[in-house]
Structure formats: C-alpha cells, structure tokens
Subunit: 609 residues, 2 copies
C-alpha cells in the first residue's frame, strides 16, 4: 500500500515525529544563532563586491576604481540599518519581522505589502545564495561548470530535507562553517593586507578615474551601488527570529546583531579594497573572491578551504530562508491571508508546507535563470529594502505614539533608517527595472491582491459557519436507502448496515433488464432480510438518472429531512485491482456532492486476494 | 461545475442518449453491410500491390515482374479463405468471429490466442488504413506530405467520434464511398486495359526476369508474397458481424461475402496487371495507385475522384475495426478475460470504452511509426492469419464432431483453408520477423497471459463474494462516533446526524492544545445536544494517530461490530476553493480504507459563496 511505503521513506529522510512538549527546547544559543541567522548577511560578501565590479566594468576598466566609494556608502548603510533593527528587537521580543511590526503600527494594507515583499525575497535568497555557492564550487573545479544548474537543484533539495528534520539539528549542522568562513576570510584579508604592505604579494591597483564622471555616468554608478546593496539582505533575519533565541531572547538577539554588523562591514570592505589593490576583474567562470584567494594564497590548501567554506556559508544563507519563509507563512496563514495549511506544524515541529513551497519556487527560479547569480541579482533586494522601509517607518510611528523614555532619539534613528532605505529601494527599482526588477515590482501588488482575495473567502466561510444567532435545531429525520445491483456478500453486509442505521431502511434497484429484476426478486425473500425492495426503471440504461430523480423526490420533504444512500462496495486486496471494476460508487458520489441533504455512505467489503 | 459542462460537449459530439428499445432497429441491409463490413478487405487493394512491388524492388527492377505470379497466388488464397468463411457464417449465424468459433470447438486457450491476435490486428487495421488513406491524399496534394502524421491523428479522432454516435448513422455516412470506389476503380481497370489493347495509353512492361531465381532469392519472393497478403485482412469482418445484418442474417451475410470475394480478386488482379503493363515503380511520396490513375486518366477530374474515394474507403476500413474491436472486447469482457467495463454499452448503444481504447492505441501506433504505411505493414497480417488458421481448424473439428450432411466435403474446404492460412501465417512471421513482426509475435502470448491473469482475479472475487454456503448473518451492532474539531454550523449538523443514526452516538475530539479543549468544553453544554464528548490526547499533534488507536480499540469487539465515523465537512461554493482548506477528511478516509468494519460518512455542509 502506497501511503505506508511513503511513510517509511519520510521517516528515513526526516526522522521520527517529535512531541509538542519538545518545542521549547528547540532554542539557539548565541553562537549557534549567529550561524543560523547571520549567515545570510555574511555570505553576501561572497558576491556583493563582484556585482559592483560587474556593473562598473560595463564602462571599461577605468570605472572600476569607483568600487571603493560605493563600498564605503554601503558600509554606512549597513551601520544605519543595523542600528535601526537593534531597536526593533528591543520593542518586539516576540519576533519583529517587518510583517508584524508594520501590521502593528501602520495597519493591514502596508503589512501585506511587507509580507509580499518578504516572501518574494526569501525565495530569491535561496536562489541567489545557492547559485553563488555553486559558483564557488565551479570556480575551484571548472570541470563542474557545465553542471551548475543540476548542482543548484540538488543543493536546494538537500537543504529542504535537512529542514524538514527540524531546526535544532539544522543549527548544529551549520554552526562550524560560519566560523570557519569568518576566520579564513579574516585571515585572507589580514594576510593580503600584510602582503600588500610588505610587498610579498604583487599589487596592480585599478587605474584611477579622472575627477568627474566622464565615460561612466551617474546612472551606472547608482546601478553598481544598487547591485552591491545585496550585501544588506539578511540583516533583518535576526529580528524576525527573536523567539528562536535562548532567553533572554531580546538581549541575545541584539548582541548577535551587533556582532553581525561589525563582521559584515569588515569582510565586505576588506574584500573590496583588496580586489581594488590586486586589480581583480570579474570573469565569467570564476568568482572575484576565488580570484582574490588564489592571488593571495596561490593554489594551496587554504584556497580550497576558502572555496569550500564559501559554498557552505552560502548554503547556510539559503537555509536562513527555510527558517523565515515558513515562519512568515505561519503569520499570514494565521491571519487568513494565505491558505491555512501553512499554519500547521508537521510532526517534526516544522512547517512542512512552507518548506516544500519555498524549495519548489527556488528550484523554479534556478532552472529558469540557469543557476546564474548575475541573472538573479536584479530581482533581488527590491523586496528587502521595501520591507526595511516599511518596518522602520513603523518604528518611527510607534515611538511617536508611545512617547516612552528617549522616544525622540529612537524615532530619529529609525527615521534616518526609513528615509535612507526608502531612497535605496527606489534607486534599486529604477536602475535595475529593465534587468528583472520589474518582475518583483509586478509581483508584490499581485500577491497583495491574492492575500485580500483569500482573506475575503475565509471571512465568508466563517460568517456562514458561525453559530451566532443559531438556536439548536430540531432533530434530523433520516431516510436510509441501500443501492442494490447484483446480490453478493458485500451487498448483504450493506443491507444489514442499512438496517442497523434505521429499521425503516429501503433497498433500491435500478432496472436495465427485466430478466435481472426477476432473478433478484427471486432471491430477495432469503437475502432481503425484511427490507422492502424498490425497483426504478431506466429506459436509457443509466444507473444515475432514475436514482437521482428518486432521491430528489425524497429530498423535497424539507431541509430537516436527510437521505442517506448506502452503497455496497468491495475493496480489492490490491489497490491496482480497482481498474478491473466499475467505478460506479465514484460516479454516484460525484452526482450527489453538490446536492443538499444527501449523505452517501460506502460500506466496504474487504476481499482477501 | 466541470461534469455538467463536459456532459454538454459530449451531447453535442455524440448525440442524445438512445433508449434500449431502439436496439433492434440498428440493423444493416445488404448494400449497407457491404459498405461497412467489406470496406476493410476492398480498401487493401489501395496498398497491397505497392507492398509487393516495394519488396521486389529491393532486388532491382528485374525482379518486379514476379508481381504477377505472386498476385495470382494471393487471388487463389482469397478464394480459399472466402469459401472457408462462407461455411462459418452458415454454422454461426449469431456471429462467428474467430474467438467464438475457436472457443466453441478448440477450447479456451486457443480462443484466447485468437482473441489476442484479433485485438492486435484491429488496432493495426485502423493504423494501416488511416496511414494509407492519408497517403492517397498526400499523393494528390504533395504540399500536405509533411503533415501526414497530424492528418492521421485527426482522421482517427474523427472516426472515433462518428462511432460514438452509433452504428446506423455510420452505415449511412459511409455507404456511398464504397460504391464509388468500386465503380471508379473498375472504370480505371477497364479503361486502362482498353488503352493497353488499342494502344492509346503508352505501355512499358517490367523487363522479364530470366528463368530461375538468380539475383532475387526465394526468401525475398516469399516476403513480397507475405506483404501482399495484407490484401486478405478484413475478409473475416463479415462473419464477425452477422448479427448486425437484417434478417435472414446468415443468408445475407453469405451473399455479401461472395460479392466481396469477386470484387476483391478483380480489383487486386486488375491493378497489379496494369501496374506491370505500364511499368509503375513505387515512389516515396506517391502511391502506386495514384501513379497508375494519373497514367491512365492524366491529371483530370477522374484522377482526383479516385484519390478522394480511395481515402474515403480506407477510412471506412478503419471504421470496420470500430465495429469489431468493441464487439470482441464485449465477448472477452463477458467471459471475464478483460476488465468488465468493456461489456457496458454507453447511452448511444455503442461500447464506448472499446471505441476509446481502440482509437488511443491506433493513434499511438501512428505517432510511433510516423504515419507511414510501409513501416506498419510488417506488423500487420500475422494476427489475421493466426485467427484464420484457428477459426478454420475449429470448423474442421466441428464438422468431424457433428457429422451432419456433407460433413466430409465441408471439413475438406475448411481443412484446406486451415492448412493454407497456417502456412501463410508462418511465412509472414518468418519473412517479416526482423522488420516488426516480432512485436506481434511477442504481444500475442503476452495478451493471453494477461487475459488469464484477469480471469483468475474475477474468479477469486466471485468466489469470495458468493452467497453459497452463507446463512443470513445476525444483525450488525453499530457504534456511531462524530469527529469534532472546531464548533460551527457544519459540526452541529454532523452531531445531529450522528444522533439520528444512533441515540448512543458519541463525539470525539483530538486534543493538540489544552486551551482549545477548554474552549470546546465550555460551548459543549449548549451545542453538544446531549451527545457525550470523548477527548483523546495527542502528544505528537497528529489527529490521525489517537483517532485510529481509539477506533481500533472499538473494532476489537468482533466482526459483528461496526464503527461508523461521522465527519463534518463543509463544501465550498466553488470547487477550486477547496485548496484553501485542510484535506483532513481525505486523510482520515485513506487511513480507514483498509481497516475492516469501519465506515466513514461525510456530512456535507454546503456553503453559498
């Protein structure tokens, strides 16, 4: 039997079910939390510098040196956003995702925009991170370059399975790589800087651009900046996930976010400056980070460690979305904006439906865009900055409403954050619009409309099912009919069952051939067990027509009257044997499905072989 | 709602249902019967000559003149088979298909071989005839040559729809083309012969082959003969379809079969001789018949009439299988060798399932073999000659058993038929084995094994369901449970229904969160209507686990005890709204399906919007 076998496979992949009581223990200490929630932001240093250089390279090598001021601007942006989000954590220790915070302060519609933007960006985080992670692999092992699409899909599937097992195991599994990444990249930057200073690594800085913008253009510089802003994605993950921290949750989360900010700025600036100093130019089949590591360490084991750990942290980043997407889905489902199935925890205490949908969409994106990071980047970050802006505007509103101690400087910090991220969002949407951002700009309102549509449906259902104003109705009168075709053990059992339901039960036979009626009536004395037999004629040999007509006639007795149609059905020993039997029961159920006050009951008779 | 819309489309295509009483009037007079049942055999003259020439051409043009002796041999074969089958019609006025006749005289196993061979050949008749019919079109209109596959599929679909409408309309629809075909081909042969005799059409006979077989080989000549034997396919259709004739059925059928033999031999020999005399050589994109008609009539209107009517009669030939395949399926299903659905007449008095399967398989063959007649021919005729042999051996056995008047010469005629067709069958199987006949040689026994397997299943089911030896069992004891989750109008209705089924009904609630239990218990006083509430705890948040456990506990009371599980279910106003709701009922039914003595009953609550 199918379901049982599937069940076994599921257990093997995702483990045995966990009791609800275990829920509270699935919490993360600070170092593990950094690994799980900060990896998204940290990992983006693996591609952010490259994306800046790729845009600048469109104007020729002379434009590359603009990477330095752009990187500084982005570093400043990181500081602003981190400061702003530390306040959100303090105010929302129960988890301050943009959806919750916006809903709380700006109301439903803005919160749906935030929710829509975030869902889209979680999918993109998976796609971009996995694509970049596989790029780290194919940079070190060029023979695999042709298989990157398949490798990307494989990686997403792997992460999805790990997540279906549950969050603590994920934490344990992914903790080490983050730290190895931070340490080895720190070592790369330190050793590279020493090499540049003491001249044991050859330098070849980008040629300086003459003052002014000739040959480059402000739009291109803004586009390069917009691409580099991918470095900020994931900064919000910490504040989304506060309840997953060990107590005191808020405090631990703020500390982790501060660590994250410091490490992120250091790594991003370090890599960008070294790339400048060593004259690294983007290539189609090798990442900038790979070129940089090769330049500093040569082809030694440290180079391969960096590539391996870069891949791992990027997969970890993808994993962040596997914590956040289902969590946000849960909130949206709880508020009835998406189907309620997303609010159900699976037997491993994870939101299995969210995990499955997320991985499906990410795989779709990876296949459509050929597993290419650069092709996906223009879609990325619009949603994140949209949610940053909404989230921080909400905080401003909150401080102004509460007027608690220090509200004015707190509102100031969040206000700066809101304005800056709002401007950045517009910059990204405009400069990358034709390269793919238009897809996201269209999708965000589409999702909002869908949310509202689903919400209206649930409201309508709730209203129709509500007990308000209803008084307990009078008892139901039930007419029991048993449908008889041939006469065999299964039918005898059904007749008995109908009798058990009601002593007034009747049997119904649809006549297609009078000879069959005669034979049935002959045997009815012995096997009818006193149940009266009603024969319906059928000139067109249809079973359904006369039956439906008769039942409709009975139903006409009023809404308090119910017809129960008992169907004898034998269940073959093997499921595939069903194709050798008429599917009459199925047809009858279909015909009755939209008829009020008719209840169809199968009485199964199980065959042994 | 889907089913209703489909129903309307079906009515438009296949017409309104017909009452059973109309069945007897769906009979064919002689001329119409010739059109319906003889078209298969007659139409094969459109390709039989060409298939002979194609094989001979492999040995060069010097071998082509062998077509004459081969055609004479095939003509003799036609006479033998027709004589043999005229006797079958006399002996089996109720319809003497090879399956029936073989079963009656040689027993089950040989009859299954015949049945298997025939089913396969009916499918091939459709595929070959349609491919050849489309070849007639593309010969006249070369621009369509590239679309022949699509045209073939379209033709099969068209014939299938016509047949789903019912047999008399088919007869009327297809009567004229057969006669136009016979008359125009007769005219072609007459005018061509006159032209050759009085030298107003240029002659260019194939060069004569020197005595002996040098450069040709006996095997090749036998293969050419085997290919030409396609001319005989369809001769048996008349004896299969005797009950469709107007009374006196047998007499009319024998007369029609005699006409058929005379016309078939005349047309086949005429075309082969003219092709020889005018030196027609097969071409890839124009049929031999098309070349011949063009040579005799030039590009005038008569040429196009011949091409058009050739196409029509070939489609008519395909149509023959649409009468025979469902009829044989009915016999096999009635005898429980194939699924019983094939024994059910649809509401237009036709066997819709047989028609659908036949057209599906024919389309598959046409697509796999690219709509090419020559590629399909090697698969063809093995099955037909297999059934000829079995059918005539059966007749020999019958005469020897009955010893009625003239039994010895009757047995002699059928004996010659059996031996000759048996030898031909082996010749076809051997000479065309590697070109595709192997597929059929493998399929025939495969089908026989499948038939036996299905038969065994039905026997087992019948035995298990049989009332023999059963005494009317004691009444069933029924425990009624209603599953309660939330409390709403649908649930209240289900509780009431459970009460109507049994005053001892109990409500069951699976606790995943004690808070929800508390809230439910608060409201139970008002809405429970006196039904006791049983709370089952669920440490793993699974609804199914504790429920199944409880039900299994109740089931343990013995085979005379049944548990009825009542499920409240609300039915959305639109079917697609179902995706927004949990499919719990579906899961529960799945879990209960293979459990004995559990009956699951949905109580639907219909939403209005």
């Amino acid at each position: 039997m199918g379901p049982v076998r599937f069940g076994r496979l599921k257990r093997l992949l995702v483990g045995m079910p966990l009791p609800t009581a275990q829920s509270r223990h699935e919490r993360l200490d600070r170092p593990t939390a950094l690994a799980v929630f900060a990896s998204d932001a940290l990992s983006s240093v693996a591609y952010a510098t490259e994306e800046i250089l790729l845009v600048l390279a469109l104007a020729g090598t002379i434009a590359l040196s603009y990477s330095l001021p752009i990187a500084v601007a982005i570093a400043a942006l990181i500081v602003i956003v981190v400061s702003s989000y530390r306040q959100t954590i303090g105010a929302y220790p129960q988890g301050g995702g943009a959806y919750i915070v916006t809903k709380d302060n700006l109301g439903t519609y803005p919160s749906l925009v935030a929710g829509s933007a975030l869902l889209i960006d979680y999918v993109l985080t998976v796609a971009v991170s996995v694509a970049a992670g596989i790029a780290a692999v194919t940079s070190a092992l060029p023979a695999l370059f042709g298989y990157r699409e398949a490798l990307c899909v494989l990686a997403v599937v792997g992460i999805a399975v790990a997540n279906l097992r549950g969050i603590r195991e994920s934490g344990r599994l992914f903790a080490a790589p983050t730290y190895v990444f931070v340490v080895t990249l720190g070592a790369l930057i330190a050793y590279g800087s020493l090499g540049a200073i003491f001249d044991f690594i050859p330098e070849k800085p980008y040629e300086a651009h003459p003052p002014g913008l000739e040959g480059v253009g402000l739009f291109l510089i803004l586009r390069a900046f917009a691409s580099g802003c991918a470095a900020l994605t994931g900064v919000e993950a910490v504040s989304d996930g506060v309840p997953a921290f060990k107590p005191p949750e808020a405090h631990n989360a703020r500390v982790v976010l501060a660590w994250l900010g410091v490490i992120l700025v250091t790594l991003f600036l370090g890599i960008t400056i070294l790339a400048y100093d060593f004259g690294i130019v983007p290539k189609k089949d090798e990442t900038v980070l790979s070129q940089l590591a090769w330049h500093v360490f040569g082809g030694g084991p440290l180079y391969f460690v960096i590539q391996a750990v870069t891949m791992l942290i990027l997969l970890l980043a993808a994993n962040t979305s596997f914590a956040d997407f289902p969590r946000l889905s849960f909130f949206l489902a709880r508020d009835r904006f998406i189907p309620r199935q997303f609010a159900t925890q699976g037997d491993r205490l994870v939101f299995s439906n969210g995990i499955t949908i997320l991985s499906g969409l990410a795989i779709l994106l990876l296949v459509v865009f050929g597993g290419d990071t650069h092709a996906l980047i223009p879609l990325y970050a619009v949603g994140v900055f949209m949610s940053f802006t909404l989230s921080q505007s909400s905080m401003v509103r909150r401080w102004m409403r509460l007027r608690s101690g220090g509200w004015w400087w707190r509102a100031g910090i969040n206000g700066v954050g809101a304005v800056v991220t709002g401007v950045v969002m517009l910059t990204i949407a405009v400069t990358k619009f034709t390269h793919g951002a238009w897809i996201v700009v269209l999708l965000i309102p589409t999702f909002v409309v869908m949310f509202l549509f689903i919400h209206r449906h649930y409201e309508a259902v709730a209203e129709q099912l509500s007990l308000d104003g209803l008084t307990p109705p009078p008892p139901i009168e039930n007419t029991v009919l048993v449908l008889v075709g041939d006469l065999h053990r299964g039918v005898v059992r059904a007749i008995q069952y109908a009798q058990a339901l009601s002593p007034q039960a009747k049997a119904v036979f649809v006549e297609t051939d009078p000879e069959l009626t005669r034979r049935l009536e002959e045997k009815w004395g012995k096997w009818g067990m006193g149940v009266p037999l009603i024969v319906l004629t059928s000139p067109y040999r249809s079973l359904l027509g006369p039956l439906v007509e008769y039942i409709d006639h009975l139903r006409a007795q009023g809404d308090n009257h119910v017809v129960t149609l008992v169907l004898p059905e034998f269940i073959p020993a093997k499921w595939w044997q069903a194709i050798m039997h008429n599917q009459t029961a199925f047809l009858i159920k279909g015909a009755m499905l939209f008829r009020r006050n008719v209840i169809v009951t199968d009485v199964p008779y199980h065959l042994k072989h």
